[in-house]
């Protein structure tokens, strides 16, 4: 299952790289950085390179989540050109960052900090949801499927909801012993990832087919 997700992840990255100049809105091109980091991180973790280096993979994952929050916030912020809408996205992003700081301060620099991941995930979910809501509110006609960020936001919401469930499952002791439940959560997480990367590919492809709605 890992390989299918990983291949799709690499495909999303390559699609972004190939169509880099044509991806709209321009700020959305930064998602390629997130995809690159994700590909590298997943690869190193899966092939146990971090173990060979004697470092915890969670440190890299934590860093990845922080970069992801920053980049996604920037994408949603810039994609909405209305100042009032930008302020709303900024508020959610800043709230997420404050929550991240609180998570670090209260738990210290531990390798695996679920509160930090929760803060990042919830902030991203809210930003994606808010983006969709504001985009619809700000346009007379919102052609959903022609907006690359519709696909991106939908994928982001789905993958992060499943990730939220997977991360918080560790708070339940019974989960560690229940292989079936673990398997369900893991499968859901994989499905979320598959949909997420597939949606990113679609968003890249539709972004230059419908530049009218993509903005700048």
């Amino acid at each position: 299952m890992f390989y299918i997700t990983y291949v799709l992840e690499i495909s999303a990255f390559l699609t972004g790289l190939i169509f880099l100049q044509r991806v709209r809105p321009v700020i959305y091109r930064t998602v390629i950085i997130v995809l690159l980091l994700s590909v590298v991180n997943e690869g190193l973790a899966h092939y146990k390179i971090y173990q060979q280096w004697n470092v915890s993979k969670h440190i890299f994952y934590n860093s990845f989540f922080l970069i992801e929050l920053a980049i996604f916030s920037l994408i949603f912020y810039k994609a909405l050109q209305d100042r009032a809408y930008q302020k709303k996205i900024l508020t959610v992003a800043v709230a997420g960052m404050i929550a991240v700081v609180v998570a670090i301060v209260t738990n210290g620099f531990v390798p695996f900090n679920p509160f930090l991941i929760d803060a990042v995930i919830i902030s991203i979910i809210f930003q994606a949801g808010l983006y969709l809501y504001l985009r619809n509110a700000g346009q007379k006609v919102y052609d959903l499927t022609a907006d690359p960020l519709f696909w991106f936001s939908s994928g982001v919401i789905l993958v992060n909801v499943f990730l939220l469930l997977a991360v918080n499952a560790i708070f339940i002791d019974a989960f560690k012993a229940d292989s079936m439940s673990k398997s369900i959560i893991s499968t859901l997480n994989t499905i979320g990832n598959l949909v997420y990367y597939a949606f990113i590919i679609i968003s890249m492809l539709c972004s230059f087919r419908s530049p009218r709605l993509a903005g700048t």
């Binding site: 919102y142 499952a169 019974a174 369900i184």
Partner: protein, 268 residues
Amino acid sequence: MLISITQTGWYLIGATGLFLIIFVVFLLFYYKVQIRQNDFMFKEEQMRFHYQEQLLKTQLEIQEQTLKTISQEIHDNIGQALTLAKLNLNTMLPVNEPSLESKILNSKELVSKAITDLRDLSHSLDTDYVQEMGLQRAIEYELERIQKSEVANAVMEVEGSSYRLSKQKELILFRITQEAFTNSLKHGEPKTIRVNIKYAANGLSLIISDDGKGMDLLEVTSPNAGVGTRNMQSRADMIGASISFNSSPGNGTSISIVLPLENNKDAR
């Protein structure tokens, strides 16, 4: 039998619930966007339709104004000039030379005919005159002109008790009929032109037919064809009437116009 749900089970139930809530919210969002999009497209379509209607109305108003101006010019200038010419010819008589007198009398007759023809033409172009006469009388008048010209026989049939429509509708129906006559005489070489008006409770039916050469409907209704049939169609659309053409080479032409009752509410 009681089923005990473990902590893990509750978590999964909660997770499923959360997922379902997000899914439903997403569906509602999608539905709302679609509704809004459809609403916008509907309004846009309505605006386009309204714009086309206004454009057509303006075109027809301009056309009517032009016809009226031409009608006045014919009546006031050409008509007056011809009348003067006729009077001048009268003053020449009598003359001593019989051949010259015959020529003057002949010219006087020709000028008289020209005056009558021009007066008839002036009347049929004049919007106010047509509206005053009413649809049926105006069509009869046109048929009389055709009959007098001896180009074709003209027959009028009326069924049901006649009633008047609004001035605008009568004028538009009259202009369609005129266009049909012009097309028939210009291209069809008919022996007879027939008009059938049927006043029914559910609406007015007007059939203009001839026994001329007929035409290939595919050709005349194609986008590259002339504006005659398109004009008739646009005019009929404007008053909510349906128009149909029935013709084939060698079999004459029949144009049927039906104005339903709901579109006759402003009938006088």
